[in-house]
Amino acid sequence: MPQSEYVVQMKGINKVYPNGIAANRGVDFNVRRGEIHALMGENGAGKSTLMKMLFGLEQPTSGEIIVNGETVNLTSPTVAISKGIGMVHQHFMLVPSLTVAENIVLGMAPKKGGLFMDMESAVKLTEEYAEKYNLHVDPKAKVMDIPVGMKQKVEILKALVRGAKILILDEPTAVLTTQETAELFRELINLKEQGYTIIFISHKLNEIKQITDRLTIMRAGKSMGVYETASITKEEISRLMVGRDVILTVEKEKAQPTDTVLSVKDLEYTNEWNKKMLDKVSFSVRKGEILGIAGVEGNGQRELVDMLFNLNRPDAGSVKVNGKDIVGVSQRNIRSLGVSLIPEDRMTYGIAATASIEENLISDRVGAKRFNKGPLFDMKAIHKECDDLIRDFKVLCKSGQQKVGMLSGGNIQKVVVAREFSCDPVLIIADQPTRGIDVGATEFIRKKLVELSRAGAAVLLVSADLNEVMELSDSLIVMCGGKIAAYFEDTAMLTDEIMGEYMLGLKRQSDEEIGRVCHE
């Protein structure tokens, strides 16, 4: 069989998860031998799923994968490795207390005398590969003592030593400093020159322009096409990456915002990898409006929400609810100010999966007088309130005694929402409120949010779903690289194109324009 132009061909890949979510829909993905190929797309576009299938971590529902002209059935990473595919995960797969060399030979350690480990040849092997590929590491240093950039080199070496010819790098620059990124790019180009093929997952436009030959853009589980990097502009990429398939419209009256409820000032936070996640973030949310926060995930949104509910402490800055500082204040006291939270990670922060629906619903109000008769619960009152909530919020269940964990994602979220919306909130923080749930529940939750805001609650809506954030919000801020990149007072005039440019960092408003988001 003649050597095909393509080293990897993925044809008509479909991936449907057991919960019915289709992560990939008829995706074609081709990589030429010896190129650096970018796989781009927003979070949730399906690029990680596609690569997991190429590395054998998951299997496609249908479709064909061809590696080096041979149709393969990649049932596990071990099989993928044997076909010459290596993957560098975003979260490193290293053992911290072992040395670099030990990590590299793990699972294939050289022996001497039949029984003992040949550490010398492990070190030699590491040095040899490090030299050959210009990936300089200290073989004898323990992994826990080396910087992140070197850990990444160890991961790349691990793949190379195992015979990988095709390297998948999953957002490799997410954890690196600028200098480390520049170094990584030199190393990747060096690898390319030696004939290796590199698949580079990222959504950073500048990086892509800098080192890739071609790129495939994914959106909502589909491929938006393959392009030569040199012949496509950043603006075009951004338009292809960010955009909506179906424009949804939510009916809502015009907001009439009044007093400021939430006021965030100069919030700063640097995470444990010394990466600045929040950089002087200031904004305010007023009574009666929905303020949306849009942005590609990982640009500080999660850190911001953590600060607003004391799940983490900022390095500097203040957060005030109706004039009261809430930094370092317990969640219970934050709640007593009328703040409610729909958390992004509902299974961890939203519910207790093994407790009943009823127990979850009253978990923020167990101390309320109406539920207590002397030292005991007034079960009748509890049953009544819960039955009302289950009815009002249309939670599909057998009874309030059912365990929450047994419900579907949409109904679990309805339980969270029922609790968070029924405590007369003055401020609702909704973090990805409709992620991964069915259409019916999504619509219901969106309607409720609008309803509550028109009734006088302040709503902060954080969402990676462009549809949601653009249609639901009255005004909107865009976060990029831990900073507010733009503020739009009125979302009606916004287009996907404009959003994309701010979300991907092509444009940034002046400080003055951004400053308008602080209403005093």
Partner: protein, 318 residues
Amino acid sequence: MKQLMEMVFQAEFVASVIRITAPILFAALGAVIAEKAGLTNMGLEGMMMIAALFGTLTSYWTQSWAVGVLCALLVGMLLSLMVGFFSLKLKTDIILAGIAVNMLGGGGTIFLLYMFTGMRGNTGSLVSQNILIPTLEIPLIKDIPVLGEILSGHSLLTYLAFLFVFLLWVLLYKTPLGLNIRAVGENNHAAESVGIKVRRIQYIALAFSGALAGLGGAFMSMYYSQGWNSGMVAGRGFIALAAQAMGRGEPVGTLLSSLLFGLAQALRTKASALPDISTYLVSVIPYVATVLGLVFYAAATVRRVKKARRPKEEAEEK
């Protein structure tokens, strides 16, 4: 007090420390290898009990101490693999599985002994000199004054216990198996991603752990107590877990902390022979030493963690 001091500064006392340390050391090394694979072998105590009984019984039946020791080793290994089966395959909590073995060791052994021999609580009448583990006089060394008395004349298994410190270190740090065990214990996803069979490595570590506990049990019934009785192991399996923790899970560190506990036990034995001191009070010495040891260990760890954290925080401020 003076009497106690006199006793302590005798070669015979030091030799007794070594003798008493050996069973703790066996079990503690068993705890080390299990912990390195990320598993807490809570059942060491029970494994020692049961292995000790079978060691004595088989040595009586075969009239061979070596077969007895081998049997104890195998019984310990099997029990440990059973714990592995329950926790790794059937997904019960490994601590609970270990506690189950301990309870089996407490009650089941008395029943088994009665079933096999009709004896109640101890095997006193079964034991004869030829089925006990022999002692070894080391040529040359035994003739050196003081040192000879301390180092020579111990049982074969005592020397083996100390030898195992070295062997375990070699296994963990100088062989591919040891590398795999450490990788599995620390980050089993990383191990799995390079094709290491995590479950298999964990079973292997547990087998070693149980075998070591079995040897500890054999030492107790076939040498130290010269026969099996129901109160014989007396918490050594738990002390071993403490020794492992105090020794930071390393073979050499665990040797030192085992020696410390051995010293406490030896002190108790000596002090209880003194007049004027309540034997009940004295008998708590080893256990108080265990608690104190763990407290010191915990305090040291906290301090170390704080120290490790401080430079990082300073770096962040910059």
